[in-house]
């Protein structure tokens, strides 16, 4: 970051760690010129829990539970990343049934995450009603999770070697119902927010991120795709059941806050399409591999998946023991965060809130 030396007369504000629009305990150090933001320095680490270090003392099936607590809105996808990495290291492949169920859960998670993002993004811009519309629909997904996995937020359902248990007999029926329900409700989102004049004025042309910037800073996920950066792992390196279905990558080239918003709205439609292709075709099969012990052989392994926020990489260094010798997560939010100074400098405070909302930051994922 290119920040000039701090002058004596600068108006510095600490936005956070407790602030309504940082969605957690992130701290922005703002320097203001009246209403204008001169620069932003994000300070992370407030909620650092040492998850990577803790992983070194847990066996592979145990450490899955910690990954829920990183990006708590993509819990299933985080679980899947670890599971895939461990399975890759052991050179085993799960049954098609497991692959299908994992992908359905992941796509449901993606929709739920985008719903919550949409709700909170509206709140950031001052449209308070969006929050209740988004959460009304998110509840339906959480109910499906609760029925099948017994938990609503941190499920820890996907585990190396398969699944914790089989899904509820109603699972497919409820997912199919949800697809129908949400196809009807999604246009409401556009009516309430997308079409609003004030909303468009507030987001168009604000915080423009070029494709080069996105690649330089490693901004992935919907935020990167809003700038035309093709970074959808589901498309580049299909895993689980993605090779069996047609995935359309949503990209826009404008790179402003409005483009990042539209990418997420379109991704919800796309996720519904993927779910529709999967939900009626779930094959029968075992839900857990019969393995003697779940541990990675000596070596280094890397697996990446597409979470709701971008590319999550899991890097395991194993010495052949029951727990990893070193564990590293490449979390999407950590990379997405640091472009904020480049995007927000020169804009107003209100724009900073809009931009940080459009990057869809989940703070525990930044700090881990």
């Amino acid at each position: 970051m290119d920040i000039e030396l701090k002058e004596k007369e600068e108006y510095i504000i600490n936005m956070g760690p407790q602030h309504p629009s940082t969605h957690g305990v992130l701290r922005f150090e703002l320097c203001l010129l009246g209403e204008q933001v001169k620069y932003v320095i994000p300070h992370c680490g407030y909620i650092h829990r040492g998850i990577e270090k803790m992983c070194e003392h847990l066996t592979y099936p145990q450490l899955v539970h910690l990954t829920d607590r990183m990006d708590y809105l993509s819990a299933h996808i985080n679980n899947e990343a670890v599971a895939l990495c461990v399975e890759k290291s052991m050179n085993v492949e799960v049954s098609d049934r497991v692959k299908y169920i994992r992908t359905i859960l992941s796509e449901l998670t993606r929709i739920a995450s985008h719903q919550l993002w949409w709700s909170a993004f509206g709140m950031d811009l001052g449209a308070l009603t969006t929050f209740f519309y988004g959460l009304r629909d998110r509840e339906k997904i959480l109910d499906i999770f609760e029925e099948s996995t017994g938990s609503r937020l941190t499920q820890s359902f996907i585990t190396p070697g398969g699944l914790m248990g089989d899904v509820h007999p109603n699972f497919q029926k409820r997912v199919a119902e949800f697809i129908k329900y949400f196809r009807k409700k999604l246009p409401e989102y556009d009516q309430l927010l997308t079409g609003n004049v004030i909303f468009r004025e507030r987001t168009k042309g604000i915080g423009i991120m070029s494709k080069e910037d996105a690649i330089d800073y490693g901004v992935t996920g919907p935020s990167g795709r809003g700038s035309g950066f093709h970074c959808d792992i589901r498309k580049i390196e299909p895993y689980s059941a993605y090779p069996f279905v047609e995935v359309n990558e949503v990209t826009l080239t404008e790179g402003d806050t409005y483009a990042r918003y539209l990418v997420r709205i379109k991704e919800m439609w796309e996720s519904l399409n993927i779910l529709e292709q999967l939900v009626d075709n779930v094959p029968a099969g075992p839900i857990m591999l019969e393995l003697k012990a779940i541990k990675a052989p000596k070596g280094e392994y890397y697996q990446r998946v597409e979470t709701a926020r971008g590319e999550l990489g899991v890097y395991i260094v194993s010495d052949g023991g029951p727990s990893p010798a070193r564990m590293k997560f490449r979390s999407p939010n950590f990379s997405n965060l640091f472009i904020i100074n480049k995007l927000a400098a020169g804009h107003k405070i209100a724009d900073l809130v809009a931009i940080s909302g459009s990057l869809d930051l989940v703070i525990p994922d930044i700090d881990r």
């Binding site: 009246g34 001052g126 449209a127 308070l128 009603t129 004025e201 507030r202 107003k348 209100a350």
Partner: protein
């Protein structure tokens, strides 16, 4: 029918016969003050309740429904809670100004209530410059907001107060000009005479298109003047936590809160009086039967019904629109509302001159 003048006259004559002129005057003032304060408190509390219920309806929620039937006593319970809360004193704040700011805000809105005609004869003071008085008094509130932001010695508060100052001073112009349109039509600034001039039709209907434009401009500018969403930049929860009243607690916070709702009521009441015929019933041409039925409804109900409608419109804005940015807010006023208003005023002056309104 439903004239309150005899009642008030009988109270006055009772006071005058039983007390000396000094005591009679004093008692009359005290009674008037108490009644106004009571109206103020009850209206304020139930506006908060109404907003919570209306926003709940818009957000698929129930709203308050536990304290009393349909949650009717919820806001009273909230007020008691706020009264009992600790008042936090800030070490580095300017304590004198910090304490006086909420009173300036609330006194300004209580004073404005005094000249609002609730019904025929139900008006504490019928000034011959009533509209001007309301404009002058209600813009005093911004001084309280500016003082609150400055005295709190908090960076967020200063930004909130700064925004509020810029906003209220700009939108005051539009409010004044929109009201001037109707004053031009009616030819007076006295509320009772403005209402009398609408005996055969409300100004929003009588005044052709310009009156409707003036009403729309007044609604937008009025919402902005009360610092409510989508113009709540002074508070801007997601940006400035709570803007100018970030550092306030307990009853001092409640004063700001109540004053916001009462300012909304005042804006709506003035809109009702000037554009929608005040406490006059709705009449349709020469339909005697219909008009008589309408006359049967007491004027107070007409006044509060119309005001409630305008307030509902303002709440609808707040709960469905995102917030504007400060530069967009000022651009809206200076680039759009003000020129429209000025053109509108010229048009209305012309119409009035030619006697082309009904």
């Amino acid at each position: 029918m439903y004239d309150f003048a005899p009642l008030i006259d009988s109270i006055t004559s009772y006071l005058n016969t039983n007390f000396s002129p000094f005591w009679a005057g004093l008692l009359a003032m005290v009674m008037l003050g108490l009644v106004l304060l009571l109206i103020y408190a009850v209206l304020g509390l139930y506006l908060v309740y109404a907003e919570r219920k209306i926003c709940a309806r818009m957000q698929n929620r129930m709203g308050p429904n536990r304290v009393g039937p349909m949650g009717l006593f919820q806001t009273i319970a909230d007020l008691i809670k706020l009264l009992l809360k600790e008042l936090i004193f800030i070490r580095n704040a300017d304590n004198f100004l910090f304490n006086i700011a909420p009173f300036i805000v609330i006194v300004a809105s209580i004073m404005a209530i005094g000249s609002i005609p609730f019904g025929k004869g139900l008006q504490a003071i019928d000034l011959n410059i009533g509209v001007l008085y309301i404009l002058a008094i209600s813009s005093m509130g911004v001084i309280g907001i500016l003082i609150a932001g400055w005295a709190s010695n908090s960076k967020y508060s200063v930004i909130g107060a700064m925004r509020s100052g810029a906003q209220v001073i700009s939108y005051e112009l539009s409010v004044g000009l929109a009201l001037l349109c109707i004053i031009t039509y009616a030819g007076t600034m006295q509320f009772s005479e403005i209402i009398a001039s609408q005996q055969n039709g409300w100004w929003i209907f009588k005044g052709h298109l310009p009156a409707m434009i003036a009403f729309a401009v007044y609604l937008v500018a009025g919402t902005a003047e009360t610092n409510r969403g989508p113009f709540d930049l002074a508070e801007a929860e997601s940006e400035l936590t709570a803007g100018f009243h970030t550092e306030y607690s307990g009853i001092k916070f409640a004063f700001f809160f109540l004053a916001e709702y009462m300012n909304m009521f005042i804006i709506a009441a003035v809109a009702t009086t000037l554009f929608l015929g005040g406490w006059l019933p709705f009449h349709l041409f020469q339909w005697q039967g219909f008009n008589q039925v309408m006359d049967f409804i007491p004027p107070v109900f007409w006044f509060f019904g119309k005001t409630a409608f305008v307030i509902y419109l303002m709440m609808w804005f707040k709960w469905t629109f995102p917030r504007l940015r400060i530069d967009q807010l000022l651009a809206l006023e200076w680039k759009y509302l003000l020129p429209i208003n000025l053109m509108n005023l010229i048009l209305i002056s012309f119409l009035t001159l030619m006697q082309w309104h009904f």
